[in-house]
Structure formats: C-alpha cells, structure tokens
C-alpha cells in the first residue's frame, strides 16, 4: 500500500547521513512500522509472520546441521546419529529442524486455507497469490529433498518412488522419462550421487524461497492486506499502523505457535516422522509400506487414486498447479466467504476432503481406501473447476457492512447504520486514502 503517510524521522546524524544516500531505514519504517493494516484482521492473519519465522528458523538450524552432516551414502545415516549423540546441543538442533519442517507446513496450510476462505486471491492480489503458490511449490521441493538426507529407509524409498514418477513420461515420448530419471539420479539407481546433489539443492532452494518471499511481501505491500470482511480499505479509520498494532498481535500469535512447536520438539520429536527412517537405507529391502511425510499425504492419495501412472502424476501436479488459477476460477463478486452462505459449506467440505485425502494417503491403496480416495480426489477438482465458478455466479451474497470500520463497530455491538448488500465488494477503484 504505497502512498501512506511517512512518519520516519532519522534518529541521529548517522541515520540522517544514510537516509540521504540509501533510505533503507525509511523504507523499512514505511513498510513495517507505518504500514496501514486493516483493523479487523483476525489471528489467522498472524500466520504470515509465523511463516517468516519458520523460514528463518529452518535456515539457521539447517546451516548449523550442515556443518556436521556428511552427504554420502556410507556416512549420512551415521552422521545424523553423530549429530544427535555427540554434537553439542545436536539433540536439540536436529529435531528443531526436522519438526520445524512440519511446523512450517502446518502454518502454510493454515495460511493457504485462510486465503481460500477469505478470497485473498481476488483482484488486486492475483500476483501475490501466485507468488504464494510458487513459494508452496519451492517448499515442497525443499522438504522432499531434505527428507532424503537422513538416508533412512523411508528417505531412500521415498526418493525412489517419487523420482520414478518421471519415468511415466515414457508414455508421452518413449525414452524421455527414463532419461529424465537417470539425469535426476545421476546414475541408474538412487545412490550416493543422488544424495549428494539433493543435499546441494536442499541448501540452495531455501534462498530461492527467501527471494520469492521478498516478492510476496512486496506484492502484499502494494495491494494491501485482505481482511476477514473482504472489504477494500476506504478511509484512514479502516486501518491501524502495523506497529504497534499488528506487530503486537503477530508476536502473541507467534508465541502461541511456538508452544505447539516446542511441544513437538521436546515431547514428541518422532511423532511426525516414521519409525522406518531409523533403519539405514538399504536398496535391497523394500519397506512394507512406503509413505511420504504427512504434509505430502493428500497429494500422494491423489497420485494413487488415478488408475494410470501418467494420469496419477498429472493429477498430483495439477492438484498444486490448479491453485495458481484460483483467481480466475472464482467468479464471485464478493471476496470473503463470511458473506457467502453457500460457498462457505463447500469450503468446509473441501477442508474435510483434504484431511480425508491426508488420512487415505497413509493407508495402503486397496479396497475401500481407493474408492474413498477417488471420491475425495474428484471433489478436490470439482471444488476448483465447477463449484468455485458456478457458486460464485449463482449465489446471492449476504448483507455486508459498508466498510471495515462499520464491520468492526457492528461486531462490537455499536449498531451504527446498516450495511448494504454486496456493496463495497471489490470496488472498481479504491478511493484516495
């Protein structure tokens, strides 16, 4: 949200000197202190800050782990044990990173569902949303590469199964898939060469994520934040400065989130992982059930629900890719599901479908599990391709407040004037603030 009032005053001669040459402090002050945030944001809006914390925490713990980790087929498993047993506070840093990955995904899923519910992808935030989808993709790639590194049985067989998916390209151009897989592996099977390159890329991608996050925040600060009522900011009274208001709220949200984080790190460090990954990778022994980490399970269920290898792979990637098109799939004039009585139900059904797919992804692909996985997979795509456009078109939005200020005053019990139905929904041109 460019154009808001600039209250930055250089604090001394050094800052003044700097301000005349590179106004970095002025920019930071403008973006993170003065920046106007809608006053009606709820706690779901604290997850952006939480995610930033997660990214930084993963990089910091990861850099330390990389000082002790050995990315070779013969030594990787032992080096993780060495970190946990012999490195000073290695027993703490290793689970901080491993659990941290899961926490990162919990936060990102809350963040994505929040965006879907409140229509945060709608104009003028399409680019912001698409950048988010790229971040999500990069996170998935990073997490997948990182899970290889402990070189346990699940690491090894997870990599084998997932990289092998590319061999389905043989169905398109014979030989292409096999060539791609050999190229990814750096050989004719998953070996130490694969591990080594995965380690290299696992170290690289987080910095790509950092870049994407910078763009994501930039786009956010141009379009301004969405809010639970999905109304555009119209007057100064609709917003409060980021500091201290949003900052204070974010700090409280982060601190509460850290309790959950700490609980897993200290009291259930292995709960989110898989026992088989404490068995060293063995190319000759296949585990009874190969399952990915929990955050991939819904997509894994979609992959296995399709009775064709190539089809499954396409469906799995489409399940993520479709998110990028959401801004144009939703034909509703209203942003927030708070004022969408019909869409609301379909949304919660979608959440249930995702959870169910996660559950089914951990089950063997047999019997009724497959049937249910197909039903929920169908709903997953129907939600985006049919329900989003149609419900958006047909539904009559419920009565909306005229402005953010009005919505919070109504919420507080001071009934001041009635709202007008659907007014203020996605205004063509936001007036001067």
């Amino acid at each position: 949200m460019s154009g808001h009032e600039d209250t930055y005053k250089p604090g001394g001669p050094v800052e003044k000197w700097m301000d005349e040459r590179l106004p970095l402090m002025r920019m930071m002050h403008g973006q993170f202190v003065d920046f106007p945030t809608p006053r009606n944001l709820n706690y779901l809006w604290t997850f952006g800050g939480i995610l930033t914390f997660c990214l930084v925490a993963q990089i910091v713990t990861g850099v330390v782990l990389a000082m002790h980790y050995v990315p070779s087929a013969g030594a990787a498993f032992d080096s993780v044990q060495h970190i946990k047993r012999d490195v000073n506070y290695g027993w703490l840093i290793q689970p901080l990173h491993a659990v941290g990955g899961s926490m990162f995904f919990i936060a990102v899923y809350v963040h994505i569902f929040r965006g879907l519910y409140y229509g945060s992808y709608k104009a003028p935030r399409e680019v912001l949303w698409i950048l988010g989808v790229f971040i999500f993709l990069a996170m998935m790639a990073t997490a997948f590469l990182g899970y290889t590194l402990p070189w346990g049985q699940m690491s090894f067989w997870g990599v084998t199964v997932i990289t092998n998916l590319f061999s389905s390209l043989d169905e398109v151009i014979p030989g292409l898939g096999t060539a791609v897989v050999t190229w990814l592996w750096g050989g004719y099977s998953v070996t130490g060469a694969t591990l080594n390159r995965f380690f290299s890329l696992h170290y690289l991608l987080p910095f790509v994520i950092c870049g994407l996050v910078a763009l994501h925040i930039w786009a956010l600060h141009v379009a301004g934040q969405n809010n639970p009522d999905g109304l555009e900011v119209k007057s100064k009274s609709d917003t409060v400065p980021m500091s201290p208001y949003a900052v204070m709220k974010d700090m409280f949200g982060l601190s509460a989130f850290l309790i959950l984080f700490a609980w897993f790190v200290f009291y259930a460090p292995d709960y989110l992982g898989h026992a088989d990954n404490y068995i060293e990778a063995n190319p000759l022994v296949t585990p009874a059930h190969i399952v990915p980490e929990w955050y991939f399970l819904p997509f894994y269920a979609i992959l296995r629900a399709i009775p064709s290898k190539l089809g499954g792979v396409i469906a799995m990637f489409a399940a993520v890719g479709i998110l990028a098109f959401v801004p144009w799939l939703d034909w509703s004039r209203v942003r927030s599901a708070k004022y969408r009585p019909i869409f609301k139900w379909f949304f919660w059904l979608f959440v249930i479908a995702c959870l169910a797919l996660g559950y089914l992804g951990a089950k063997p692909p047999e019997g009724s599990y497959v049937t249910w996985a197909r039903i929920f997979t169908a709903y997953y795509f129907v939600f985006f391709l049919v329900i989003m456009p149609l419900v958006g078109l047909l539904e009559t939005p419920s009565k909306m407040p005229g402005s953010i200020t009005e919505s919070v005053l109504v919420g507080e019990g001071h009934k001041e004037g009635g709202g007008t139905a659907a007014a203020g929904a996605v205004p063509a041109a936001p007036e001067h603030r």
Binding site: M248, F264, F266, A362, L409
Partner: protein, 324 residues
Amino acid sequence: MLKTRTILGLAAALCLGASSAAFAEGDQPHIERNTWSFGGMFGQYDKAQLQRGFQVYREVCASCHSLSRIAFRNLVQPGGPEFPEEAVKALAKEYEVNQPPNDDGEVVKGPAKLSDRFPPLYANDKAARAIHNGALPPDLSVIAKARGLHYDGPWYLHPWSMLKDIVSSYQEGGADYIVGLMHGYKPVPSYKRDDKGRLTPVTETSGAGIEQCVSVTHGEHGQPDTCNQLADGMNYNAAFPGHQIAMINPFAAHSKDAPQVTYQDGTPQTVDQYAKDIAAFLSWASDPTLDQRKQLGWMVIFYLLITTGLLYIAKRKVWSGIAH
C-alpha cells in the same frame, strides 16, 4: 467463532500430521502399551532399570546383536545407566578393538578405551547372514526408534487417538514393541478346516482337520483358505509382523529355579521384567539425551506460556481503545 476456527485449523493440521504415523492394518498384531518411567512430560530414565537392561543385553542379546553406535563412555554419562567410570573402564578392556596403525603400519587389536564404541560383531552383513542361517540380526543402537506400534482401532477413533498420543507425548512405541516381541513367542496357533475349506481358530492342537498355521490367507471367490506354515529355521512370534521370525526365543532357557539373568538388586527375575529392562535400555541407547531434553522442555514450555500470557496482556492493552 474466530477462535474456534483457529483451533479447528490447527487440529485439522495435527490430524493430518499424525496420519503419517499410521500404518497399514491388515496383519498387524495388537501389542499392549506399558507404563515407562521415561514416558510423559516429566519422564526420566530409571538408572537401575538401565543398568539391569544393560546386563540383559550383555548376557543375552550381545551374542548376536551389535550395539555399534554406543561408546563405552556413554555408559558413564549422566542420563544413562551411569555406571561408575572405573567399572566401565574395566568392562571396555574386555573388548578388543582395532588400534591405530603401529610404526610398522600394522593394524593390531587391543583393549577398548572409554572413547571406543562397542565393536561390531560381524565383519559385514554377509558374514552375519552366513552365521545365522541367512538372517541378519539388526544392530540395536537405534532399534527402539526404528520400531513402533500400529493403531488397530476403528478409523473414526483414529484422529482422537492421535491427538491423545500427541497430548500425552507418547513416544514409547518402540519399547512397547520390544516387550510385545519378547512375549510373542508362543506355540503356532491351530486352525480347523471346515468342509468349505475355511480355517477357523481352535484350541485343540491335534486331531482330524487341525492345522498349525502362522497366518491364514483367506481364499477369494469361494477358494479354500491357505494355511501359511512355519518355514524351516523360523520361529512363531505373535507380535512380529507376519508372525515368522528368525530370532529364537532369547529367554527360552529361563525358568523360575534357574533364572537366565541373575539380578543383584533383588528385582524379580521374570521374562516380563527382563523384557521391560532391555526395552528401557534400548530406548536409552536410541535416545540417550531424553532426560536432558525433557528437563529443558518443561522450562521452555513454561517460559513460552508466561511470555505468551504477557504478550496477550500487552496486545489487549495496545488494542484497548480500538474496535476490531
């Protein structure tokens, strides 16, 4: 309403998370959970139990299973069995390990020191298999983390069970599995075949139509059931996936009058006690910093609770004049 939604969101994410711990049911046997001194938020290892467990390892398991990630010094360190240093030094001397090359460039074996790890029992996996009829006795250093229990209740209670395990910080699945395995050695179950070829469990062990099966594969489309028989050199174990295990019952020679392991501290000398002690010892071997972790853990949680409370008060104060 908003709070409810936040909680729902988190709960949903948690449920999703937990399902990775879920495994296929099918032929997974039910194993009981035990109470462990090191379970729960304030759980710590019982030093005496770890010492007994080490004794069981030495006298029973060590003949086939290595412990190659554990160093002798670990047995002295706080949070473990905490044997006296002199005793462990003496113990280490009983083991022969490769010494650094001497001036002639020869690698000779010599007595182990505190800093050495338990020497491997086999030159390599193939050597181990050659000795053990094709079976490979796994190294026990991380075995307690490499095993676990499988949820075997109805699916609709699964999310609830996962939440319960998270809240109660249940991490002792490996230890419970080890105890279950030690108790799992039983006679091969008997089944009786009816005229349609279906097998049903019976209590009689011999007679017409009685068959001993480690497991039964149900015939589809009216085909008769298949009785899977115990393979040569294998043993029946009710707790082991597939019920056929190469390991013999380690406590087969145990009897009340001639206990297999003689405890010095008056602890009952039963197979159940041996099983629990070895499971506790192996839990420590796979997670030697648990005591330290749980001690720091509650301080961190306590600190975060206070901080979160203070931040909430501060947030209320900051927002007090503003409707939101």
